[in-house]
């Protein structure tokens, strides 16, 4: 087990003061009280991350750098945005835009990362960034990897962040909201005939969403049938022949996606907002939007 506790236990009082002070900048008063009690009451917790590493927290981190936009959004919605010390170029939410950027979420600028003095870095699992994990390990900066592939992963990440930040109740509420939104959408489209949908991400040959993705989960919740449920990977290219012979009812694309015109001759190409392609707490809205398109009758 990797035992990555916060580096200097003796710093705990300083961290506590810092986080309380930062909290005061945000919502003040009652809000601050919540944080303080959460920090004091939180026992050491151990989280197993997406890489299978066990990461130990003696108390909630006070300086978090999330390299994963999904997690940044979750942290803000849990009311722990005060702990964020930086962002990536892909975090454009108004609440975090003022924070300094470290560049991309993969292979961020290490100089800037170090100057932010994070006590927790959250990053993508996988081999796409072989440098950052090593650099953080060398400096004993705790880091946690996530992999938001499916809706269930996003929900698990919300719970994890709630635990880490001492905001389990807020996390439960957030998850309950998302669950309810998804259940409402499912109820709306229940019993209706399920249109056959190909979710196209663009490219030549076109890339589609396969099984095991949050997009497939969204299609399912919105009462659609993913025609590429048999794809052998999460996202991948398929030949035009496949696309036109699979008896597709709708091709769904995110707004602004360029698709082969042939598809339009085969079945309607419908556009959804970009939010459908970002795995986060907006997944409930995304499911609703898809359901609107796939089952307009259910909304009359």
């Amino acid at each position: 087990m990797h035992r990555i506790g916060l580096r200097h236990r003796t710093r705990a009082p300083i961290l506590l003061l810092a986080s309380a002070a930062l909290g005061a900048c945000g919502d003040a008063g009652a809000e601050r009280g919540v944080e303080r009690s959460a920090i004091i009451s939180a026992a050491p917790i151990v989280i197993t991350d997406a890489s299978g590493r066990a990461v130990r927290f003696d108390h909630p981190p006070a300086r978090v750098l999330s390299l994963v936009p999904t997690v940044t959004q979750i942290l803000v919605e849990l009311g722990t945005g005060y702990a964020l010390v930086g962002r990536t170029d892909y975090d454009t939410m108004a609440t975090v835009r003022a924070l300094p950027s470290v560049g991309g979420g993969l292979q961020p600028d290490l100089e800037r990362l170090l100057t932010l003095r994070p006590d927790l870095v959250i990053r993508f699992e996988g081999a796409q960034d072989p440098v950052t994990g090593v650099a953080l390990d060398e400096r004993s900066i705790p880091h946690l990897t996530v992999r938001p592939d499916r809706i269930a992963d996003v929900i698990a990440i919300v719970h994890q962040m709630g635990q880490i930040m001492g905001r389990s109740e807020a996390a439960d509420t957030l998850v309950a909201d998302l669950d309810r939104q998804l259940a409402d959408v499912r109820a709306l489209v229940a019993g209706a005939e399920r249109p056959r949908v190909a979710y196209v991400l663009g490219g030549t040959p076109p890339w589609v969403a396969g099984p095991g993705t949050f997009i497939a989960d969204l299609l399912d919740a919105a009462g659609g049938e993913n025609v590429f449920a048999d794809l052998d990977r999460l996202y991948g290219p398929v030949s035009l022949e496949e696309l036109v012979t699979r008896d597709v009812t709708f091709f769904v694309v995110a707004r602004g996606t360029v698709v082969n015109l042939r598809l339009g001759e085969q079945a309607p190409v419908v556009e959804v907002s970009q939010e459908v392609e970002s795995p986060g707490t907006g997944l409930g809205r995304a499911a609703l939007e898809l359901a609107h398109l796939l089952h307009p009758a259910a909304f009359r």
């Binding site: 100057t115 081999a127 796409q128 072989p130 440098v131 996202y235």
Partner: protein, 329 residues
Amino acid sequence: MTRSRTTAAVLILAVAAAVLLAVRFGSVALSTGDVLDALRGRGDPVTRDIVVGLRLPRALLGVLVGGGLALAGATFQALLRNPLAEPYILGISGGAAAAAVTVLALGLVSAGSWVLPAAAFGGALLAIFLVFRVASAADRSLDVRVLLLAGVVVGAFFSATIALWFALSEASTVRSAVLWMMGSLAGADWRVVVTAAAYTLPAGFVLVALARPLDLLAIGEETATYLGANVEQVKRIAFGMASLITAAGVAVAGVIGFVGLIIPHAVRLVVGSGHRALLPLSFLAGSAFLVLADVVARLVIAPAEMPIGVVTAFAGVPLFLVLLRASLR
């Protein structure tokens, strides 16, 4: 010889200046005083870490990789008697990339940070081994035309292997592989620097020691034999050492183009084609060039990083044209 000495002095200063610039400037603005304090082990620990833990090893890795590529390029140009020869011409980059993509696609990289460079190094050596096997199967005396052809064939085979993995893999694997193949010094830390030095420096000294037989070889193998060079042995050692340097470079920094092709030509335009001067001076010029290119790559779109190959090509082409014009006057 005085011209070589002057050039050497200028290039040593250029390397020193490049390293100083690389340590002085980065995406985080530090004052000269901060940097000097950090180098003396004083001041803020994060600043110290940025200067000594990030910038300095990265600059030194640039010295080793840039110098190594230029030295290997000069050697390949002499051995193959071909001005288009560069360190990757015998399929080394293809072998390294194919091995790297294979471990990425199979998910083996999670075993540790050493897996990817080790695989790339192994792939590079495998490529060279195959090229020599193919070439010597056709002709025992290692005819350079056969070698070049074998290099192209082996390289094409590995390119196809990479394309095959791309077709079979997740998008994230393809992305990782493309990022790796673009080349970067971002993986630099002290361990990497020591590893790169352990291969590059000894092999580099061997090549410099072979300067005289390489001069003879560049004239022609028959002439070299008449003049007393053990042609086959020199060729084997020189190919081996240049390949080792290239393999180490690819393993730690991916495929960085242009340095190994252009720098030896540029140096040749200034000091002539005698290898006693050409080889060490190519090393110095390659070092200074790559370190400076990396400074630009780190700064120009900070906090994001420009692929270093973009900078080496954009800076290398005009530089080379200027030198070429000057030499033709």
